[in-house]
Symmetry: C2
Subunit: 404 residues, 2 copies
C-alpha cells in the first residue's frame, strides 16, 4: 500500500499497527477494539497481524488514529509489555470490566469497531459469546450504543498489503513454484494421487513449512475425468498415458501463503501433443486469466472481474465454474475481504467490494472436460495502480509430460 | 464417562458424536447446530471432537438424539461423505439458506443449541457475524425463536472424557514426564531460562509433537525470585547454586494435551538440602494438591475445591495464588467448561460448575517466595466415582539437584 509512513525500521507487526492507525484516520470508526480470550483455541486472525503471542484471559486491544492500548490479565502482560508494540499496556486481576470502561471512557470514541461480520469470515474474529460479554460490560455507560462492525477496516488492513507483505507472498510463491517443478519430475506412469500428494508433503517438510491449508487435501490432486472435484483428499486414481494431472497446492512461509494450481498432460503412446479439446480448454483458461489480470483496475468491483472471465468461458461453450474466480491471499489462504466472485447468496456482499492497489489475489478459472478431467490454473497477482502484476510464473503453454 | 454405548469399534470422532446424541437425550436442547466457515482460520474447537477436516464455506452440523446431518457446500462434501461420520450429508451450491431451513424444518426441534457462551471460551465456537447470519437465515420461519446457547452440552461433551480420551491424555502426560526427566539431567550451573526452554523444544521436536501452548512461552521457565511470573517467554536468568528452577510445560499427542509443572532446588555450596522455607513451601503445595485430589468428588462445585486449597495455603501464612487452582485438560490445554477457581468476575459462571466423573483437571496451586522464587507443581488428574486418580507422577518430595 502506498503508505506515507516511514515504517521500514519497524517490525511487521508494528507496521500493520501503524497502517491500522492510518486507515482509522479516514474511517467512520473512531476506534477499533479487538477482543480475544484463549486465543490459541479461539484465535482472532486479525491479532496475528500484530503479534504471534497468545492470550488466555479476556484481552482488549484498542486502536485509535493517535494511540494504541492493550488491556490484559496480569499473567498475560509481561511479553506484551516487553514487545513495546502497544503505546500502553494496562492489566487487571480479578475482572476487566472497570478497567475497560475507564480506558474507553478516557478516549471517548463516538464509534467503536468490533470484529464481527456476516459476509467476511476473516473480519469475523469475535466470538458470539464474547461479543455479548463486551456489550454487557459497557451496559449502562455512554459507550453502550457505540459498537459497530469493523469489517471495512479489517478488510482494508488485511487486504491492502504493505510492500514487505507482498514480498513475503512472492517469496512463498517462488518457493512453491520450485516444489511444483521438482514434484513434476518425479511423476511416473502408475503413480497414484496419494503418492503425488506424498511428494508435495515431502517438499514442504524439507523446506520446514506448513501447507497453506489442511494437509489432508493440500495438495488436492486430480487425475483424469473421474476423480472427485473440490476439497478432497487425494485418492487411488493413477497417472496413465493420455490423462490430465492437476494439482492445487500452497505453503505458508514466514506467515504468508502461496496458492497455486498447475496442470500437465501426460503424452499418450505415439502422440507428443495433447488432444485438441485439452489444448483448447487450457488456452481458454489462460485467456481467462489474462482477461482477469487486465481487469484488476483499482475501483472495479470483484464481481465484474469474475463476470468477464465467466462470460469468456461460457461464450466459448464451456459451463460456468462453480466457484469464485479468485480470492484474497495473505496470512490466510482465503484472506477475507472482497472476492472476485459471482453475486451468489453464499458470497454475501463480498463480490461488491472494489479492487484496491495493494490487494493480492488468486486467479483460478476452471473447466472440467468429461473425457479428460480438470483443466485449471491458479496464479497469484498483486494489484498495482494500473493493473495486476504476476507474482507467479503463469505457464501459458500446457506442459506435456512424456512419462515411463 | 460411563457410557452405555458399545462404541469401542468406532473412530474417536464417531464415539464423540454418539456421546453427543446420548447427552442430548437428557438435555433441554432438542438439537445442536454447529456452524463454521473458513474453519482453518475460524475454527470451532468442538468440530475437532468429530473430524480433522476443514470446511471453507458456511457449513452446518446438526445433531439430535436420534440423528446427525451435515449441510455443506458441494466442494466441501466428498471427504465428509466418504468418512461416513454423519448419518446424512446434504450439499448446496449458491446458498445454504433454503437447504438449512428445510433440514431444520423436517426435524422441527423446539430448541436448537448454538455454540455461544459468555463464560466458556471453548463453548464459544460460533463467531458473532456467523450467528447473525444464522438468525437471518431462519428469520420469518417458525425456527427463528428457538436458538439457545449450547454451552451446557458442549461443557459435558468436552469435559466428560471417554475412556479412550483419558488414556490419550495419560499417554501425553507419560511422555511429558520423560521429557522433564531427560531435561533435568541436562541442567547445568549458568544455564539460562532460554537454554532450558531450548532443551524442552528439542525434546518435543524429537518426539514429533507440538507444545501444548505457544512455544514462545511453552515451557515457561522461572529461575529464582526475580524472574517475571505468568505467560512469559524464558529470559536470561541463569541457574545458580541455591536457586529454585521451575518449569511449566505440556505437549499435544494424538490431539490431547498434557500440562505439568515441576520445581527443583539447586543445592548450594555445602548444603545438600533445600533451606527450610523452600521445603516448607513445597510441602504446602504438595498438601494443597492432596487436599484437592480428595475434594474432587462428583457433584462438588469447582470453587469449593479451589477454596479448600486457597484456605490451606493462606492458613499457613502464604498469600493467595492469583489464578485458578486448576482447569479442564483435553483437546485444549484449557479445555473449557467449569474451572476449579475462585468466584472472580473474570471466571464468570465457570467456578459454579460441578465436578463430574470423567472430568480431567490440572491441579496447580502456586507460591512465590520473595527470597527464592516460584514454588508450584501441576498435576493432571481424572475424576472417578469416588475421587481423583493421578495421571501424573506427583513428586511429593522436592527434588534437589547438585549441579556443576
Amino acid at each position: 500500500m502506498p503508505t506515507t509512513l516511514d515504517t521500514a525500521a519497524l517490525s511487521l507487526g508494528a507496521q500493520k499497527l501503524a497502517q491500522a492507525k492510518e486507515f482509522l484516520r479516514s474511517s467512520p470508526l473512531e476506534a477499533w477494539l479487538l477482543v480475544v480470550r484463549e486465543s490459541k483455541d479461539r484465535p482472532d486472525p486479525s491479532l496475528r497481524l500484530f503479534t504471534e503471542q497468545d492470550f488466555t484471559w479476556n484481552s482488549f486491544f484498542l486502536v485509535t488514529p493517535g494511540r494504541s492500548a492493550a488491556l490484559v490479565a496480569t499473567f498475560d502482560a509481561p511479553d506484551l509489555e516487553r514487545s513495546g508494540l502497544f503505546d500502553e499496556v494496562r492489566t487487571y486481576k480479578e475482572g476487566a470490566r472497570a478497567a475497560l470502561v475507564s480506558l474507553l471512557g478516557e478516549l471517548n470514541p463516538r464509534s467503536i469497531g468490533l470484529n464481527f461480520s456476516k459476509d467476511d469470515a476473516l473480519a469475523d474474529g469475535l466470538t458470539a459469546g464474547l461479543k455479548d460479554s463486551v456489550e454487557e460490560m459497557l451496559r449502562g455507560t455512554p459507550l453502550a450504543g457505540r459498537l459497530q462492525s469493523a469489517e471495512q477496516l479489517v478488510a482494508l488492513l488485511r487486504g491492502v498489503k504493505l510492500p514487505i507483505e507482498r514480498e513475503l507472498i512472492r517469496s512463498a510463491v517462488d518457493e512453491t513454484e520450485g516444489m511444483f517443478d521438482r514434484a513434476a519430475r518425479e511423476f511416473r506412469l502408475g503413480m497414484s494421487a496419494r503418492e503425488i500428494a506424498g511428494v508435495f508433503h515431502r517438499e514442504a517438510a524439507r523446506a520446514g513449512v506448513p501447507t497453506a491449508w489442511s494437509s489432508r487435501h493440500c495438495p488436492t490432486v486430480t487425475i483424469g475425468p473421474n476423480a472427485a472435484i473440490g476439497h478432497v483428499s487425494p485418492g487411488d486414481e493413477r497417472i496413465d498415458r493420455g490423462c490430465v494431472v492437476h494439482v492445487d497446492f500452497g505453503i505458508v512461509r514466514s506467515g504468508y501463503c502461496s496458492d497455486l494450481q498447475r496442470a500437465w498432460y501426460v503424452a499418450g503412446e505415439g502422440d507428443a501433443a495433447a488432444p485438441e479439446p485439452v489444448r483448447r480448454a487450457y488456452a481458454a483458461v489462460v485467456g481467462g486469466i489474462e482477461l482477469a489480470a487486465g481487469a484488476l483496475i483499482p475501483g472495479t468491483p470483484g464481481w465484474e472481474v469474475d463476470l468477464k472471465v465467466r462470460t469468456h468461458l461460457t461464450s466459448l461453450g464451456y459451463p460456468e465454474y462453480a466457484h469464485a474466480l479468485g480470492h484474497h491471499l495473505g496470512r490466510a489462504v482465503h484472506d477475507g475481504g472482497g472476492v472476485l466472485g459471482p453475486r451468489w447468496e453464499r458470497y454475501g456482499r463480498a463480490p461488491y467490494e472494489a479492487v484496491r492497489e495493494g490487494h493480492v489475489y488468486t486467479l483460478e478459472p476452471s473447466l472440467h472436460l468429461p473425457d479428460h478431467g480438470l483443466i485449471s490454473l491458479e496464479e497469484d497477482v498483486a494489484v498495482g495502480p494500473r493493473g495486476a502484476e504476476f507474482l507467479s510464473r503463469f505457464p501459458r503453454e500446457l506442459p506435456v509430460l512424456t512419462l515411463s
